[in-house]
């Protein structure tokens, strides 16, 4: 399993798209930091704002970066790994080796989860550093719910928990994209498929709005004002996406 992961990891980083995504991501994080440094207020939505401080800077940085992570970097890396290699015929080179197909799937999925985790961790670290360097530190912080205030340590944990929830959304997204990449034929159709699922799910029910508007959901969930189920649908998407994709991988004919 470790060897499978190492092999896939090496291929992932040798692809130009991964390096370009990383560079663009770093650029966007830095530009967002500069943008936030010029602001005095952080906005949860069109109405609710709070003063930007060292304690909540990383949370608002994630809000700025999240759309890019969920709608662009995550799907691109997933599609490259799950559909691009297969579509280009290169996955055949791997599949004819003495390996388990299920383990190959697991290795690819875990690698993508790790790389997305790295992106999220970089955002958090940069946000904390910039916040503490360039924004005032305060003793008491308020987030979306004005009735709850947090100490510095409490605010740190609040941000950490929000990042954790965001990572769960990313994992759910990876599971669904994995399924889309397995079912649909080409990388471009896969990307359109993912956007279609993310947007279309909102027409089915607002419960799935976290797929597209993750940070808005997280803000409301953390404030205790989110009116839909969140954790269950989140894990539902993750587990169902994984289970169906694994089933499909196990049964499919690799004809490309």
């Amino acid at each position: 399993m470790i060897q499978l992961m190492q092999s896939d990891w090496q291929r992932m980083w040798k692809r130009k798209k991964t390096m370009v995504s990383l560079l663009i991501f770093v650029g966007i994080v830095l530009l967002d930091c500069l943008f936030l440094m010029m602001q005095n207020l952080g906005a949860f939505d069109n109405v609710s704002t709070v003063p930007l401080t060292a304690q909540n800077f990383s949370l608002f940085l994630l809000k700025e970066v999240s759309f890019f992570l969920v709608l662009i970097i995550g799907p691109i890396l997933m599609i490259d790994s799950f559909n691009g290699e297969y579509h280009g015929g290169q996955l055949r080179l791997v599949l004819i080796r003495p390996i388990s197909v299920m383990r190959l799937f697991a290795a690819k999925w875990i690698n993508l989860a790790i790389i997305m985790g790295m992106f999220v961790l970089v955002t958090f670290t940069v946000g904390e550093i910039f916040g503490h360097l360039f924004k005032p530190s305060v003793d008491s912080v308020v987030f979306l719910n004005p009735d709850r205030s947090y100490s510095s340590a409490g605010a740190f944990m609040y941000c950490l928990e929000s990042y954790g929830l965001f990572m769960l959304i990313v994992l759910a997204q990876l599971s669904l994209t994995g399924l889309i990449c397995t079912v649909l034929p080409s990388p471009i159709i896969c990307y359109l498929g993912w956007v279609g699922v993310a947007v279309g799910s909102m027409y089915v029910s607002n419960t799935f709005s976290f797929l597209l508007f993750g940070m808005s959901t997280i803000f409301q969930w953390m404030a205790g004002s989110y009116s839909h189920a969140f954790i269950m649908p989140l894990f539902g998407c993750m587990i169902l996406g994984l289970a169906v994709t694994m089933f499909w991988w196990n049964r499919r004919n690799w004809v490309k």
Binding site: S7, Q90, L95, I96, R97, P98, W254
Partner: protein, 242 residues
């Protein structure tokens, strides 16, 4: 000793039978030509042997290991180029092999790099190993394809239309490589091709299929005897049109 056993293999696509109740064996040390017209089911059978697709019925064994039930052991004995030699174009030839050798658990970590150098030497690509695959000619890609097939010290190598797109020089190089690997390393080859002349130069046995069914199998001498000539092409065309 049987290296490859095909037993009553059937594969369908909807109502159409791609491969129907096919059975034959390949013995150790054979260089076996796998011949049939376009759409006869050659690539489909090769995909089933290499575990890429699953048969509806029947069993494929490599060195006695069932490809479906004991996939890892069975595929550990085989190296293959299925269809065309496609690689990761953004990596060098050597990096491609270093990446793939990690998937062979029978090669210890410390011996991976030397195994890659060894197979690059065998196929005559040691001098170009560091170049990106996208700069390789088709002939070099075929040789790299054989190098990746050799990585796990296989008993059987399967080549699907290996001479496709090669110039006469490339075909000769490939032929010499196959014969050398068969004679020096005792590797069994199962080679599908349209080029009967070429197969005649290297193959001791032939398996002939038509419309997914086995038409004939035997040694080259038996075929020549049956055809009444050393020119097998006319007899092959006759078999395919009758």
């Amino acid at each position: 000793m049987k290296v490859l056993e095909i037993e009553h293999i059937t594969k369908k696509a909807g109502r159409r039978t791609l491969v129907g109740d096919m059975s034959f064996d390949i013995m150790q040390g054979d260089v076996c030509g796998f011949v049939g017209p376009n759409g006869a089911g050659k690539t489909t059978l090769i995909r089933m042997i290499t575990g890429l697709i699953k048969p509806e019925e029947g069993c494929i064994r490599i060195e006695g290991c069932d490809v479906q039930r004991d996939r890892k052991k069975a595929l550990g004995q085989v190296g293959a180029i299925v269809e065309s030699p496609i690689f990761f174009p953004y990596m060098s030839g050597k990096d491609n092999l270093l990446n793939l050798v990690k998937l062979h658990v029978n090669i210890p970590k410390g011996q991976r790099a030397s195994r890659v150098d060894e197979v690059l030497n065998i196929v005559g690509l040691a001098g170009r190993g560091k170049d990106k695959v996208k700069t390789y000619s088709l002939g070099m890609k075929q040789r790299l394809g054989i190098a990746q097939a050799l990585l796990g010290n296989p008993k059987l190598i399967i080549l699907d239309e290996p001479a496709n797109g090669l110039d006469p020089m490339g075909i000769r190089e490939l032929r010499n490589l196959i014969l050398e690997l068969n004679e020096k390393h005792g590797i069994t080859f199962f080679v599908s091709s349209h080029l009967l002349d070429e197969l005649q130069r290297i193959c001791s046995r032939f398996v002939i299929i038509k419309e997914g069914r086995l038409v004939w199998q035997g040694t080259q001498e038996q075929w020549q005897e049956m055809a009444g000539s050393s020119n097998l092409e006319d007899h092959f065309v006759e078999m395919m049109t009758s």
